[in-house]
């Protein structure tokens, strides 16, 4: 029996409310050995009070030592084994810019590049052209017309864009056209299975027309495509957990990830306060609330230790407003660590707390990486957090008699 079969069998309806507050990249490292992490430096009286009432632990997003991107990091928190469920690069990029993929769509990530007169790549990123410039060029690509196919080209940032082909009989297993080198021509989009033959033809025709349209451009006179992917098939929160789930996020990527598992996007919030307003406004309509806080990650990625500390303190100040809604289960965690020291996502376990009347206290005093090592949730795989959420919300039947 797979874990998903188990949870589908055991999950049951109840009137309890579960809030999962994801502080993106919250885990950190000390700037000096044996010093304090960002979380240990921050003043977090409200999170500390939750820790004293709750059960805490350290979450391993994928496997020990494996650094996750946002996709696998969130899938795991949502209870989907990130090694079993993968979101193809193209689908993740589309998701990240808020493009809702349909069942007949294949998405690919595109890069503009510079070609010489012989058609060989001289710059794989087209001189990292400015986003505004890229937006203009993407606009020109809307002229592409492929019979029987609806084509969407959307800008991402700088030289990056997303292309989505919509039509019957498309498949994701098409080879990248990016040769990952300069001095050579872009590759043909070859089908990796018979089912992808039509998609490969469509991609080839897209490239042919695009090359014509871009011919006069100085930097972005070529393009490469990679990560062809269809929308991943993920069982929904309602199906798996019998939870009506709402997502309150600011950034498109996290909205997209939530939508992939069947959450409803709620509100148009730009600040944490507005996110809590949005949650309060729909409190009676949902059982589960995914609240995403981005800035603990972005400050970490920028290497701004002091800024990350401030963002953690901002998060802490929001806790009383969340508590006022009286969720039955309140979880505070992250999808991965983002130490300011490393300026990137990392593999280090993520401090996690869970508060519910059904918690077993573990005697911890403070919400920190070090304290959480001694917590009652132990060192656990992130994909099991939803099981613990359901259990503490009394939403999980006994397994076996």
């Amino acid at each position: 029996m797979t874990e998903h079969e188990l949870v589908r069998e055991l999950a049951e309806k109840a009137s309890t409310k579960i809030v999962m507050l994801v502080a993106d990249g919250i885990g950190g490292l000390p700037l000096e050995p044996s010093g304090r992490t960002e979380l240990e430096t921050a003043s977090t009286p409200h999170l500390d009070a939750l820790v004293r009432r709750g059960t805490s632990g350290s979450s391993i997003p994928v496997l020990p030592g494996v650094t996750p991107g946002s996709g696998p990091g969130h899938l795991a928190l949502f209870g989907y084994d990130p090694l079993e469920f993968r979101i193809g690069r193209g689908a993740l990029e589309a998701t990240g810019i808020g493009f809702e993929l349909g069942p007949n769509d294949v998405a690919a990530r595109g890069n503009f590049c510079t070609l010489d007169s012989a058609g060989l790549i001289t710059d794989r990123r087209a001189g990292r052209i400015a986003s505004e410039e890229s937006f203009r060029i993407v606009e020109r690509l809307q002229q592409v017309q492929i019979k029987g196919i609806e084509t969407f080209v959307k800008p991402v940032k700088e030289h990056r864009f997303v292309v989505v082909f919509r039509g019957p009989g498309l498949a994701g297993d098409v080879a990248d056209t990016d040769p990952q080198a300069t001095g050579v021509a872009a590759l043909d989009p070859l089908p990796l299975s018979p089912a992808a033959a039509r998609t490969a033809e469509v991609a080839k025709e897209f490239v042919r027309q695009a090359r014509g349209i871009l011919a006069g451009e100085t930097h972005a006179n070529g393009l490469v495509l990679r990560g062809f992917a269809t929308k991943p098939q993920l069982p929904s929160y309602l199906d798996l957990y019998k939870l009506r789930a709402a997502a309150i996020a600011v950034y498109p990527m996290y909205k997209g990830l939530a939508r992939l598992v069947g959450m409803t996007l709620v509100g148009q919030a730009h600040t944490l306060d507005e996110q809590i307003d949005a949650m309060a406004a729909c409190w009676n309509d949902y059982d589960f609330f995914f609240l995403h806080f981005k800035y603990t990650d972005s400050t970490g990625e920028d290497g701004q230790f002091a800024e990350k500390v401030k963002r953690i303190e901002e998060l802490d100040r929001a806790i009383p407003r969340i508590e006022k809604l009286a969720p039955d289960v309140l979880i505070v965690t992250g999808d991965h660590s983002t130490p300011s020291l490393l300026k990137t996502h990392s593999w280090h376990p993520v401090p996690t707390l869970l508060v519910a009347p059904t918690c077993r206290p573990d005697g911890l005093e403070k919400f920190s990486e070090r304290e959480c090592l001694r917590g009652g949730l132990g060192m656990f795989q992130a994909k099991h957090l939803m099981l613990m959420a359901l259990a503490h919300g009394l939403r999980c039947a006994k397994y076996g008699a």
Copy 2:
């Protein structure tokens, strides 16, 4: 996606150096209840200093409660699931005496036994004849000639030996001839699959000729064979991890295990000091160094608590010389515990420390079984240690975007 597929996808080249110092059987038990283990008794100022700078934890070699042999214990440390990758008994014995198995080889473990005039086994270990006596008899078996097959017979210890058949079309799935009882005849080596028919014939012919040669021996006038096995197919360190790996071990078994995963044997060391000399001499040629220290295990197996303490202190004194090489990641662990109290390998978790500039400190003060329980690596499966080594050496790409 399997864990090996994942690591193969994520591992990337870097200039960092990783040292894995395996203190065989280092974990122990107190001789008296509530007393101290060997490691807790030893004075280990250098290991303790590493613990204060690093992240520590408890390694579970196979599964909780499962006591590993040296084969599974090391495979796990090397990152190979010891339940998925098995080294057949014959192949492990051959490896243990330093016999390098080739792709056309089948190895079996042999025991000399005593037969009565009716050919029934009266002593399954031939009176545990002395090794010298056994060596003489093994020498006589070199006369065996089998058409199209090269036969190697090598002594192990006392009544034990290894036989290797080399030739095309051989397979490992041949039944043991040891009836595991006295008063009965040795069994025929039966093929367990059609592919093993030829191997079974070869083994039968070997036994027939050997019986003739041994007929005049007093004790060792018969033999039984078991654990027929080919060389296990293990992906190499270079393939899996993109690591050029060197092994610096004294005993043939550990050299053999390292060779099975594609490590290069370095040096002709007999002492830990000589091992470190050998490592230093090839420091620029490799990325990963497996250093094996045997005596924490052998003293444990002999039940010599005080001797094991001394060996741990010897290990501790070697740490500064290793640190002088400035490895980016230094791991000290064991393949299993060998408590002097039990005089054998045991299932108890193995104290493990990892030091790197990318470590998250966990506030531990001493390298001991008790302290490691509260460490930042938690209670982890040994097979994940290599992932953590790669991560801390910044040799592992992000998983997913």
